[in-house]
């Protein structure tokens, strides 16, 4: 069944991971001597296709259809399944995004192939020419390198901010191919009956250069407001641990970690966060991690560059004030 050829990237127009996927896809394609294609599904998205070529794709397949406006598994799986059967990629990469997490296993099962989710390292084995897919498991405490020896495509979803995008190069050329979705509304068994987008205020957490994050040890939603103050001073955004979100101290959209967002800021300030591996998964690529925790044995001190062992209530106001002074 080793009849696949080429590296295919499932692109999502609004997600920066698409460029990261093209970056790693380009190097995998080069190692194999095979082409790199990108597929984008959506409605009214054709204008963005050229850009994907500038970021590394040899060809871009655009499937533009009103039924594909929102990600809906039934429609997306149907279209991607057909496309994979027609184009027979050797490797298919998706982002570990909300859509990717839902689509990848569905599509893999329909294609009778395997998928390694949430990969943070991908390489081609020079001998077997198989895709070496390295991913975390046990919440980040263990890593595994996995292969899909026989079935094709070899599928992986990729964790955000683990792969480097190429620099934009508008002189790159490539073909944009328009494809019919070939579906009608009858393929949709589920229906989105209500939706809204939270209008983000301030810096987007995923893009922030500084993230100030709080954990369960903050003790309450009111206490969390102190983190807003520090974030404002540092021109950053506020994140949280899952325990803090579950307790209602912070909105779910602030959650950082394995099942939350992945951030990689220059500075990550973790306040009253124990540093469980599932949390660190979402922030360990930060340049500098600073921890404030009253427990000297907390795991966060194993990951942090600088730390203060103390009750945050006594440290944070002075720290915030000093930052303000230094930055004035």
């Amino acid at each position: 069944m080793n009849d696949g050829r080429g590296v295919m990237v499932f692109g999502e127009v609004s997600e920066s991971i698409t460029y990261e996927l093209l970056g790693i896809g380009r190097s995998l394609a080069a190692a194999l001597g095979e082409p790199l294609s990108c597929v984008v599904l959506g409605s009214g998205i054709r204008d963005q296709a050229r850009e994907l070529i500038a970021f590394g794709a040899d060809t871009v397949s655009v499937v533009d259809d009103p039924l594909l406006k929102d990600y809906q598994a039934d429609a997306y799986v149907t279209v991607m399944h057909r496309l994979c059967q027609e184009q027979r990629p050797n490797i298919l990469l998706l982002g570990q995004t909300i859509a990717g997490r839902d689509l990848a296993p569905r599509l893999a099962f329909r294609l009778h192939t395997g998928v390694a989710t949430d990969c943070s390292e991908l390489a081609i084995d020079p001998t077997s020419r198989l895709l070496l897919q390295t991913r975390a498991c046990y919440g980040g405490n263990v890593r595994a390198t996995v292969v899909c020896p026989d079935a094709r495509p070899q599928m992986a979803t990729v964790r955000a901010k683990t792969m480097a995008a190429l620099a934009r190069d508008d002189s790159r050329t490539g073909d944009v191919i328009d494809l019919d979705a070939g579906i009608d509304a009858s393929c949709l068994r589920t229906r989105i009956v209500d939706e809204s987008r939270e209008t983000a205020t301030g810096v987007r957490l995923e893009d922030a250069r500084v993230v100030v994050a709080g954990g369960r040890g903050m003790g309450g939603a009111d206490a969390f407001k102190q983190l807003d103050t520090l974030a404002t001073v540092l021109k950053g955004a506020v994140g949280a641990s899952r325990a803090a979100c579950d307790a209602g101290y912070a909105p779910a959209s602030a959650q950082i970690g394995l099942t939350g967002k992945v951030v990689a800021p220059t500075l990550y300030v973790a306040v009253a966060i124990s540093g469980a591996s599932q949390h660190m998964t979402g922030c360990s690529r930060s340049k500098v991690i600073v921890a404030i925790n009253k427990d000297p044995a907390a795991n966060i001190f194993k990951e942090a560059r600088y730390g203060v062992v103390a009750d945050y209530r006594e440290v944070l106001p002075a720290f915030t004030e000093m930052c303000r002074e230094l930055l004035e």
């Binding site: 569905r106 893999a108 099962f109 263990v142 229906r191 340049k287 730390g307 203060v308 440290v315």
Partner: protein, 266 residues
């Protein structure tokens, strides 16, 4: 309303790295902490979701698990929370399975259970962190699937699922039967009651092997797996942490800021 909940027994997710070792030959993680195994957290919350639906609509809850050497006390927990039946699937043929072949085994068991309106799974198991088996079962049984539920309500033949998606609010309607995967935003699972624990002890799990499922052995275990683990290893840990102190915590806070300034981090 009849619900099947898939639950997996896993090593306690709070086990620190010092509490397990890697068996490189078997490519397996072995707990050395002495902590008892637990039911995957999201799966307990899937049981909770099922119990809430049962309270509103009646029906039965069948808990389904596939695995070997299970701790009976652990996998009985959903029964003590209020689930009705427990089905345990195991066979030497299931050894060495991946997400792909595990889903085949579970799908075969669900077929054998026969009557169901909903299949509930956790969004991912905290050992493999794969997040595949729920959507996989849906594909294998030809059912729709809605992932990351934070609330589930039902009317007649449809379910309404509020999905836990960051920065968005999304409500999806699906026909029954369908598969739903549950996320932690659903809320904490209830504790078993003493009466529940007593009642659960009297219930024997139904056990099925490959033959009972009438499953083709080439589709399960290592034979049916699509992926192969080449290597399991421990991640490299971060470097040294410089602890910043002071005569008072306030002073430590100020010094921390100055340190960051010196290091040009702020």
């Amino acid at each position: 309303m009849d619900i099947v909940v898939c639950v997996k027994q896993v090593m306690d997710a709070d086990t620190p790295p010092s509490g397990f070792r890697i068996d490189a030959r078997a490519n397996d993680v072995v707990s050395t902490s002495g902590l008892p195994p637990v039911i995957n957290g999201f799966d307990e919350q899937a049981v909770e979701a099922a119990l809430r639906l049962k309270e509103a609509h009646g029906g039965t809850i069948t808990v389904l698990t596939l695995g070997k050497d299970l701790a009976l006390d652990v996998i009985r927990k959903p029964l003590s929370m209020g689930a009705d039946e427990l089905v345990v699937v195991w066979d030497a043929a299931f050894e060495g399975g991946d997400s792909y072949s595990t889903a085949h085994g579970l799908a075969a068991a669900i077929r054998k259970i026969g009557t169901y309106d909903l299949i509930l799974c956790g969004r991912q198991a905290s050992d493999g962190d794969a997040g595949q088996v729920g959507p996989g079962i849906a594909e294998l049984l030809g059912m729709p699937c809605v992932t990351f539920a934070k609330s589930i309500t039902a009317t007649d033949a449809t379910v309404r699922i509020e999905r836990a998606i960051p920065d968005r609010y999304e409500v999806v309607e699906a026909p029954m039967p369908c598969v739903i995967t549950v996320s932690n935003e659903l809320g904490a699972a209830r504790y078993p009651t003493l009466r529940g624990v007593m009642a659960a002890r009297r219930k024997q799990p139904v056990t099925w092997n490959a033959e009972a499922l009438g499953i083709d052995p080439s589709t399960v275990g290592a034979a049916g797996a699509r992926t192969k683990v080449l290597r399991l290893f421990l991640p490299e840990r971060g470097g040294e942490c410089e602890l910043v102190a002071g005569d008072t915590p306030e002073q430590a806070g100020k010094r921390l800021a100055m340190k960051l300034r010196e290091a040009k981090v702020i």
